[in-house]
């Protein structure tokens, strides 16, 4: 598969709240010492590839950095380190402000989690869908209206609803507006940030099927961010599992969910409720994740919550190792591999 998006060694650090104040920082700067401020490692040295026409899932708990990662990929925020290549084009070096008016801006678009909140309450659905077409395709007047109508129809949004305001639309209709806006400029990569989290199951199915159809029709690649593993399993070819800023496991979705190798993925899969099974004795995670502020680079991030947790986990951070099509960052991954 030809790679579309190549993310290499991307990191995003934020200054931690509660660090030294302005005065202390200024003093440190002028005394010549290095400004070693505490940093939150939101995304830490992440690399992965998304192929053309591929759907990749990104899962992890809240606060694991998946939102930061997608905002970095969509160039809404700047990365601290690393490269993001879309085709032959390197995107990470331009600041997000400059990139906003770049010719490749249209190539990465995003569907937001809460469609109610991501559409400006003061504008109609038409305005929302037309905005990217006006700015990035320079469409005006009749051409613009026609294009908006076409995209709405593709997303199953009746044209009569285009004159409505977000609060006059149902949850499913708002989700369709969000999708129509994102695909209006025909992106190569569509990032879907929990697009169905706020929807009822019956509506969720319709929206997922719509996304599936649009992908086949337009040959887009998807990066699908979700905490709902049963949905990820249905929609995605491959899956990335993130924990505290790092990718701990990746591989074909069916395989990862059938036989998770990383203890965190195992706990994640075990926690998914299944209609026809009781809760039973399953793997459970105890405690809270460790602090993302300046974590020790020699300790596995999962140490402390991990049911395996050995001495070696405290002395060496496990690297992401390859097993066939899969990658796992755990010293004990072999134990769970099927014997060949």
């Amino acid at each position: 598969m030809t790679p579309l998006l190549d993310v290499a060694e991307v990191s995003k650090l934020f200054p931690a709240a509660g660090g030294p104040g302005l005065w202390a920082r200024t003093k440190r700067r002028f005394s010549g010492g290095p400004a070693n401020l505490p940093k939150v490692y939101a995304v830490d040295d992440v690399s992965f590839v998304i192929g053309k026409g591929e759907t990749v899932g990104l899962v992890g708990e809240s606060g694991c950095g998946k939102s930061t990662l997608v905002r970095a990929l969509t160039r809404l925020i700047d990365v601290s380190d690393g490269t993001i290549k879309l085709g032959d084009r390197e995107l990470a070096r331009k600041t997000s402000r400059v990139f906003a008016r770049d010719r490749d801006r249209a190539r990465i678009q995003m569907v937001f989690q809460d469609a109610g909140e991501s559409v400006n309450p003061r504008f109609t659905a038409f305005h929302a869908i037309a905005d990217p077409l006006r700015r990035l395709r320079k469409l005006r007047g009749k051409a613009l209206q026609e294009r908006v109508a076409v995209v709405s129809r593709q997303c199953g949004l009746p044209v009569e609803l285009l004159s409505r305001f977000p609060h006059q639309l149902s949850g499913g209709q708002r989700a369709r507006v969000g999708i129509a806006r994102a695909i209006a400029v025909e992106p190569d990569l569509l990032v879907l940030d929990e697009p169905t989290a706020a929807l009822d199951v019956s509506v969720q199915v319709v929206i997922l099927q719509l996304l599936q159809r649009l992908k086949h029709e337009f040959g887009m690649s998807y990066l699908f961010v979700s905490h709902d593993l049963s949905v990820v399993r249905l929609l995605c070819d491959r899956v990335l599992v993130m924990y505290l800023g790092k990718i701990v496991e990746s591989g074909p979705a069916a395989e990862v969910f059938a036989r998770p190798l990383h203890p965190y993925t195992q706990a994640l899969v075990a926690a998914v409720p299944r209609l026809n099974e009781g809760a039973g004795e399953r793997l459970r995670l105890s405690g809270e994740p460790m602090s993302p502020i300046d974590p020790d680079p020699h300790v596995c991030r999962f140490y402390g919550r991990c049911p395996r947790g050995m001495e070696s986990c405290k002395t060496a951070m496990p690297a992401l190792r390859q097993f066939g099509e899969r990658h796992v960052a755990c010293h004990f991954a072999e134990e769970f591999l099927p014997r060949s």
Binding site: S170, Q204, A271
Partner: protein
């Protein structure tokens, strides 16, 4: 039906909301019961009335809402006709509720240990002096590590899962006989959800507490509840023991809901979507069956008042034309 006596039995509960655009008939003749020590899940999509049911039972409906009929019996007391002082005595002691967003339900400027102690003192089981230690015990009981230190923290210093644990500790402080959990894990991570649900199940078992578990997630309900009550547009459409419901759903809506739940499907195309949407509950010409306008199995009979099975039947279906029962091992069904 279980032989245990009902901890709570709700009969023909009707609730209306007065709004500026008309009267919303939010609940219509909702009946179900929870046996002592049993966990019953109320399942439905948004607008089905599952939370309104809980609020009506707790007596904390929005001022615009009004109970227009029915009974809710909790140990000989009808909660719906009880006055405020009777309710105040029962609330927190005999029944307690936990909410969807624990962080907003906690007082943001009071240490969590003190908040638990307040509740313990209010219910009179613990002296003022012994309360702090008892609060720490409660924190330990809900599985908070290092409870001595955690008792001194404020809600904003804790994660969502921790706040929910504190809420559970507060709800269970007086060892109520009925716990209503309104979407207790919505917004929490799936791993935290599993742990919190484990905790609720364990404590319910330990205290012999009846639990009403309100959720939109059929898979989670199926995993955690002994019985499931499916609601749609203010009606109870089907109620059955969990295994029976999963294997032998007979109301068309329940069947569609199961088919739409991602867990049971192997591919996206196999998932069914439910056509149509909820009827506008402000309409004055609502059909007797509020699902009939989206229902693929609608017949002429559906214009007649809904069939009502005996309230103690194990499997009740509010439908004139239910799906046929699976032949083998299907228990007797008490529809009309």
């Amino acid at each position: 039906m279980t032989s245990a006596p009902a901890a709570l039995s709700v009969e023909n509960l009707c609730v209306e909301f007065r709004t500026r655009s008309g009267i919303v008939r939010a609940l219509d003749k909702v009946s179900f019961s929870v046996a002592k020590g049993e966990t019953v899940a109320l399942v439905g999509e948004s607008g089905s009335g599952k939370s309104v049911t809980a609020y009506a039972v707790m007596g904390i409906l929005d001022p615009a809402g009004r109970v227009t009929g029915g009974r809710a019996m909790l140990g000989g007391l009808d909660l719906l006709s009880a006055n405020q002082s009777q309710l105040a005595k029962v609330r927190g002691r005999k029944m307690a509720m936990i909410f969807q967003s624990p962080r907003t339900a906690l007082n943001p400027i009071r240490q969590v240990g003190r908040q638990i102690a307040d509740v313990l003192i209010r219910h009179g089981d613990v002296t003022r002096k012994a309360a702090p230690a008892a609060a720490i015990e409660m924190l330990r009981a809900v599985g908070i590590t290092d409870p001595v230190r955690r008792a001194k923290t404020y809600p904003f210093e804790m994660s969502g899962g921790m706040c929910q644990r504190v809420m559970i500790a507060i709800a269970l402080a007086a060892k109520p006989s009925l716990l209503i959990a309104d979407e207790p894990t919505t917004g929490l991570d799936v791993t935290t959800q599993a742990v919190i649900m484990d905790l609720i199940s364990d404590l319910a078992e330990k205290l012999g507490m009846a639990t009403i578990f309100i959720t939109h997630d059929l898979a989670l309900a199926g995993q955690r509840a002994a019985r499931i009550v499916v609601m749609h547009a203010g009606h109870v459409v089907e109620a059955a023991p969990t295994r029976e419901l999963c294997a032998n759903a007979r109301h068309p809506y329940t069947a569609e809901l199961i088919a739409a739940t991602p867990d049971s499907a192997t591919s996206l195309d196999a998932l069914a979507s439910i056509p149509g949407s909820l009827p506008d509950l402000r309409r004055t010409d609502l059909p007797p069956c509020r699902y009939s306008e989206r229902c693929p199995r609608k017949t002429e009979r559906c214009a007649q008042p809904l069939p009502v099975g005996p309230p103690d039947a194990a499997h009740t279906i509010a439908c004139w034309n239910p799906l046929p029962a699976r032949a083998i091992g299907a228990p007797k069904v008490n529809a009309a």
